[in-house]
Each structure stands twice: as C-alpha cells, then as structure tokens.
Symmetry: C2
Subunit: 289 residues, 2 copies
C-alpha cells in the first residue's frame, strides 16, 4: 500500500473510532472538515519514509504515529485560522473551520484533534507499552511548551522574537518529530534524526514564505501576502525571492547530508529531493531548476 493510502486510512480510522453515535454531530463534521481533504500530508509522509528507511516492520505503529502528527498539524491550522490569529477565510481551498462551522466549534475541533492524537497513539501502542512513552514524549515535545508549535505561535504575541526560534518552534518542531518518531518506531536513535526533520522543516518554511509572496491564492488554497500584512518574519522578505530559492535548495541538501546511516538511506534521499520539488510554488519550480 502506498504512503498516501496508508495515511488517509490511518486518519480515517482514528476519527471513525470516536466519531460515533452519541457524539455531537456538528463537532464530528468540523473535525472531518479540518482533516479531509488534506494538504500535502508532508509530515506523515516524512515519518513513514524515515520509518521505512530505518527498517521498521511495524506498519500499524508507523501509521499511528504518522496519523497523530498529522492530527496535531490539522489542529494547529484550525486554531491558527481563528479570527484572533490569522482570521483566515480559506484553508486548502475551502472555507476554514470557523467560517464553515463558527468559532466555538473551531476551538473545540482543534481541542478534540489534539486529544485524539494522543489517544490514538495510546490505543495503537497499548500492546507494546514500552514504546508508548518515548513516542508520546517525542510528539508532545513538538507541539507543547517550551519549543513546540504552540510556543511557536505564542512568539507572535511577544514584542521581540528571534526569527530562528519562531520558525524552529512553529514549523520545524513537528517536522523534527516526524523524523525522530519515524526512527523510534523502527527502534533507531531518535536524536540523530531530529536534524533531518529540522532542516526539512526550515526548507518547508522558506517554501511557505515563497508561496506567500509569489503564488496565487487559488494555487495555495489560502490567502497570500499575509506575512507582509501581518508583519511576520519571512525568508522571502529578508532574502528576496532568488535568495530564498537558494536557501531552500541548501536546506534540502543539508537534510540529505544529515541522514544517519540506515538500510534505506539512498532511497530516503531521493524521497526528500522529490518532496522538495513538490513544496515549491509552481512558477518558481521552473525558475529554480
């Protein structure tokens, strides 16, 4: 089964398990709207690719970890889109959750997705309990305080912020968890893999900044030009479009070079190079080639 199918099935299974009769129907709808249809699913794809490269044989565990990471990502998007943050009317080309279901259900859908991520991990790994705590700590570290995505988002409320700390927490942390947890599923050393995710996360952030200045809203599926409008730190703003493209390519090379020795290192390098082309805005992909 290919990675995309595995991820979509794992996400659907996680949600189906709790979206049962007796659950408020609009909450179920809001949660499904937040997760389906998905974006590039780049974090869970990275997680599965690393698990495979490290020789994991437990597909169920890898799928659960990948799904949990994506559920947390979706939760963060729902809350980031709220009127008190980005006030975004669109996400993935559709109305954002609060536009489609109202603010109360958007807050609750985000909360429910965070809880589901941990619950799904616990349920899937209950048969191999010695693996649960390390995986859960890798995942929770990437979203909580002091350096996870919640903290990253909170830097927007501070008068001063280091651009590096901001991006590492807001974006890099969940990518680092994707590679670290993928390695952990296979019994490999998590720490050695964090840097790979860190760099892919940085590359993704640069690509996101580029999309924000250089792509159309239709192509991206959410409003563009928001970084300048909201005065947020942006690689494209700092380095210019060409400088940012160079930076993105450097970061992907650095990620590939950081791959620790493992059975599937070569194939993983190819996957990373391919994914990096996917994340570039269409017009810029040709300019970067």
């Amino acid at each position: 089964m290919d990675a995309t199918t595995r991820i979509e099935q794992a996400l659907a299974a996680a949600i189906d398990r709790v979206a049962i009769p007796g659950c408020p129907p609009k909450l179920v709808e809001a949660v499904r709207h937040a997760v389906f249809p998905g974006g590039a699913r780049i974090r869970p794809r990275l997680c599965l690719a690393v698990a495979a490269a490290c020789g994991s044989r437990d597909d169920a565990a890898a799928d659960a970890v990948a799904a949990s990471i994506e559920l947390l990502h979706c939760a963060s998007l729902v809350h980031d889109d709220l009127p008190c943050f980005d006030d975004s009317p669109l996400r993935r080309g559709l109305p954002s959750v609060h536009r489609a279901f109202g603010e109360p259900l958007a807050v609750l859908a985000g909360d429910a997705l965070i809880i589901l991520a941990f619950e799904h991990l616990a349920r899937t790994l209950s048969a191999t309990p010695e693996r649960l705590a390390p995986l859960l700590l890798t995942v929770s570290r990437s979203v909580g305080m002091p350096h996870g995505i919640t903290a990253g988002q909170a830097w927007e409320c501070e008068p001063r912020v280091s651009v590096e700390d901001y991006h590492r927490a807001k974006t890099g942390s969940l990518f680092a968890a994707a590679t670290a947890a993928g390695a952990q599923v296979a019994g490999a050393d998590a720490d050695a893999w964090r840097i790979v995710g860190d760099r892919i996360g940085e590359a993704y952030q640069v690509a996101d900044d580029l999309r924000d200045v250089a792509a159309s809203a239709q192509e991206v599926g959410k409003p563009v030009g928001r970084d300048a409008l909201l005065n947020r730190p942006s690689a494209a703003g700092e380095l210019g479009v060409d400088g940012a493209i160079d930076r993105l390519r450097q970061l992907v090379r650095a990620a590939v070079e950081a791959i620790p020795p493992c059975p599937g290192a070569e194939q993983l390098a190819e996957v990373l190079m391919m994914e990096s082309r996917h994340i570039m805005p269409k017009g810029l992909a040709e300019r970067a080639a």
Copy 2:
C-alpha cells in the same frame, strides 16, 4: 503530606518542567494564571482519595494522574471563558485568561495545558510503561470525543440536546476519570469506579447550577445568572432551589453507596460527604442541613 499540598506541588512541578528559558514568557504567564491560584481542586482531590482508598502505594503516579486531570480541567475553563463561548470576564475572582492576556494567548494556553497533561502523564509513568496506556485512555476518553468535556461543550452548538448527555459529557466525564484513574493507579478495576465519579460529577453540576442562581458573584468568583441568560439546561431552573438541593443530597448518597469494596471505603465515604458540603453555596448549606 496532605492532598492539597501534593496537588499544588504536582501542578507546579508539571508546569516548571516546561516553563523554562526559551519558552515565550507571556505563554508561561498565561498558563500559570490559568492554573494558580486554583479553585477547589475537587477532581484531583477525588482522584487521590480513591487511589488511597484502593491502597495505592505509588504517590508519584497518583499525583501525576491527579495533576493531569486538573490541567485538563483548567484548559477547559480557559477555552470555555473565551468570547465565542461564555465571554466571561472573571474566573476564580480574577480576570479570565483572555481578559488578562488577550484571546490568542488564551487559545494557546488552553492548547498547551491539554498537551502538558498528556506529556506529564507519559513522563511520570515512563518507568512503569504497562500502566501508561490504560491511564492515558481513561484520561483522554474523559476530555475527547465522543463523550468527553470537549463533546459536552459542543452540545451547546446543537439545536437539540439531552440535558443528561450534556452534563454527563461536560462535567461528569472528568469526575468519572478522576475515580477510574485513581483506582487504576492502585491496580483496581477502573470501570467499577466510574459510577462513583459520575454521581459526584452530577452532584457538582447541581451545586454549580445552584450557585449560578443563588450565590453572589463575589462568593463564586465568576459571573452568576449565566445559565438563564445563555438558556443553558439547569437543574435549579428545572427543579427549583429546594428540589435541586434534594437532588444534590440524593446524588452524594448514591455516590457513597456505589463505592466498590476496597480497604479505605469508610474513610472515602466520609471524604465524599465532606466535599459535598464544600461545594454547596454558603447560604444554601445551612438551608440544606
């Protein structure tokens, strides 16, 4: 060490572990404001009382579970107070988190507290991994979909709601988790203990409804008269004040009668009776005596 000291220390330890340099300072402040000074800490007290009644000897595990439950309760208060829900200016006699720190930090503080609850559980129980998954599932079930407090709050967004389903999810579920998880810490059967928590939770909800109609805002520390204003289901509205007081006393008796056989059953019964007097609004406690 008494229960109150243990709970406050466990909460402080959980937060101190992540509120370190490098974390956005306002997020740290908002999280501390959400947790300290606390309310009655009735859920973690109940959890510790059940663990003791069941003969638990692992105070560290009991404290961690109790703290996790209280962190989730505090998270729900922060989000429930948001302008899109109750728009409450006050909580526990102080400005609510969004009034003190703004809406973005209130959303993020709630998210960070949910994550911290699971992270703290995983960290504390990593040395006894076979206990982690069952405890984590008990706790996550009480806050997530389909019947946890997130679902309970979401019933407010539905055109029709059964008052029983609403209260059981919004309030009862975390009380049921407090007794079930307290029993699990001691190695006792969780399911037999859920009903005790369920009934204490129902009693607490009736007391809360009574406070909303019969107490002053100063005594309660948050605005009163909100249930009628927001057209929420209320026992005091349905049964009248005297009827609600009767119902509360019945529920506490039922909780005591439901205590499963355990070494400390008698002492626990006394604790439950005493706690039930604490939760009654002051003027009504005399009327009920």
